[in-house]
């Protein structure tokens, strides 16, 4: 099952050229671009690991693409997303976030049912991928 989140989630995966243009847009607005990765695709998994530090004061997308390619070399089997942080007063938050890399096989999510008092049921989801330990969930590294 293809996991989607963030901007452009309704589109097919962006090509490198399209990613470059999005980064350039973010940089032109003065936002700092971050690269994040994870191997737990749960929608509530908000805080992903960061690749390096946020990239402030860049002028051109080539710098971010350089880091992204480095990150893909190491964590190409995981989800990688880019996020752009707006530090201006009043915003001070993420303005843009989209996925730029995903594992080859995405096994999808299991629906869990928990029977509790009376006839009530609690539902929960978890990716089949998280059955395996962190680090070798998608073919391992």
């Amino acid at each position: 099952m293809r996991m989607t989140q963030g901007c452009f989630s309704y589109l097919p995966d962006l090509t490198d050229e399209q990613i470059t243009k999005q980064i350039q847009y973010a940089l032109s607005k003065g936002w700092a671009v971050n690269i994040e990765f994870t191997d737990d695709p749960h929608p509530r998994n908000t805080y992903w690991e960061m690749w390096g530090v946020p990239m402030f004061d860049l002028q051109d997308a080539a710098g971010v693409m350089m880091e992204l390619n480095e990150c893909r070399k190491v964590y190409g089997d995981r989800y990688i997303r880019l996020s752009a942080f707006d530090s201006s007063h009043g915003w001070e938050s993420l303005r843009l976030s989209f996925i730029v890399n995903r594992p080859k096989d995405e096994p999808g999510f299991r629906l869990g049912r928990q029977e509790i008092g009376g006839r009530s049921i609690r539902y929960t989801t978890a990716s089949y991928a998280v059955d395996r330990p962190e680090g070798d969930r998608y073919g391992g590294s």
Binding site: D16, E17, G52, M55, D57, L58, Q59, D60, A61, A62, G63, V64, M66, E67
Partner: protein, 307 residues
């Protein structure tokens, strides 16, 4: 990055090109004229930059006609004594390269060893990369580049920075242009011990020292920009000042002139304020007189003295 399929080169090459129109479209004529106007002297440098600009203009046409697909090597080295305008020319170079489309943004990131080389193991690579990322799409200007290489200390981290630089200079030629700057003899030694740099740098430009007339012209241009002027006596005093100051150690061309002018302005302000009852005209405030110049320490010590 995009894979360009060379069009039918014969028909493309036959297409006539209006060079004049191309030149005007790119708008580098303006930058070159500005270079001529605002930079005094530096004849060989200006000639070289014109040559490079012409080459790049033609290269651009060739690229469009499908006669070449490679980005030319544009990394440069500027050698010359302090205050000969290396940084200023680097800024102009960036704007020429930007107008011709060889760099995408045209900004200049100016760094020295401190910003590239770290203090601990593992500190250098991220630091150098950080700088490179900031310079992407523009020009990376490395001042006093020879400090990167310290042969006397074999565990110096400078070597690590050099390796990363070389790699990016080679692989990302269309993203970044590197300009190395420094004093002539030391740069020569630096290139000798780092042949990798020498071969990756296409243009070596040498900046000559200014002569006395040029320094005076520079002083007057600086004053003009700041809305000041010399009176006749002050001008001849400043001519003498230049002659004496040049003979003294630590003379750094245009920079020394700028510093001297700053001190002269200080003395002029002091002179004006010391007589509060006087009614000043705009001309009084603009004019620097001989006394302001002659009060300099340079005259007391005479030629050969330190200062």
């Amino acid at each position: 990055m995009t894979e360009q399929v060379a069009p039918d080169t014969v028909t493309a090459a036959e297409a006539a090109v209006d060079l004049r129109k191309e030149f005007a479209e790119v708008g580098i004529g303006e930058v070159l004229d500005q270079l001529d106007r605002e930079l005094i002297g530096l004849k060989p440098v200006k000639t070289r930059i014109r040559e490079i600009a012409s080459l790049l203009l033609i290269e651009r046409l060739r690229k469009r006609m499908g006669l070449t697909t490679e980005t030319p090597t544009l990394h440069m080295s500027f050698t010359g004594n302090p205050g000969t305008g290396k940084t200023t020319v680097a800024l102009r170079m960036a704007s020429i390269l930007h107008k011709l489309g060889f760099v995408r943004r045209g900004h200049v990131v100016s760094v020295t060893r401190d910003e590239l080389v770290g203090q601990y193991i593992g500190h250098t690579a991220p630091k150098t990369k950080e700088v490179l990322k900031k310079a992407m799409g523009g020009v990376l200007f490395i001042d006093e580049a020879y400090y990167l290489y310290r042969p006397e200390n074999e565990r110096d981290y400078g070597q690590e920075a050099i390796e990363i630089l070389l790699q990016v200079m080679e692989n990302q030629r269309d993203d970044l242009v590197v300009i190395l700057a420094g004093y002539g003899d030391r740069m020569d030694r630096f290139f000798q011990s780092n042949p990798g740099f020498r071969s990756r740098i296409a243009h070596h430009i040498d900046f000559p020292d200014y002569n006395d007339d040029e320094l005076l012209a520079i002083a007057e241009l600086m004053l003009h920009d700041m809305n000041y002027k010399f009176d006749a006596a002050a001008r001849s005093a400043f001519e003498r000042y230049i002659a004496i100051r040049k003979a003294q150690p630590l003379f750094s061309n245009a920079r020394s002139v700028r510093n001297a002018l700053d001190r002269i302005r200080l003395r002029q302000a002091n002179r004006l304020v010391s007589d509060l009852d006087r009614v000043l005209s705009a001309d009084d405030i603009m004019t620097l007189d001989a006394a302001d110049v002659l009060a300099s320490r340079v005259f007391e010590k005479g030629p050969g003295g330190a200062g």
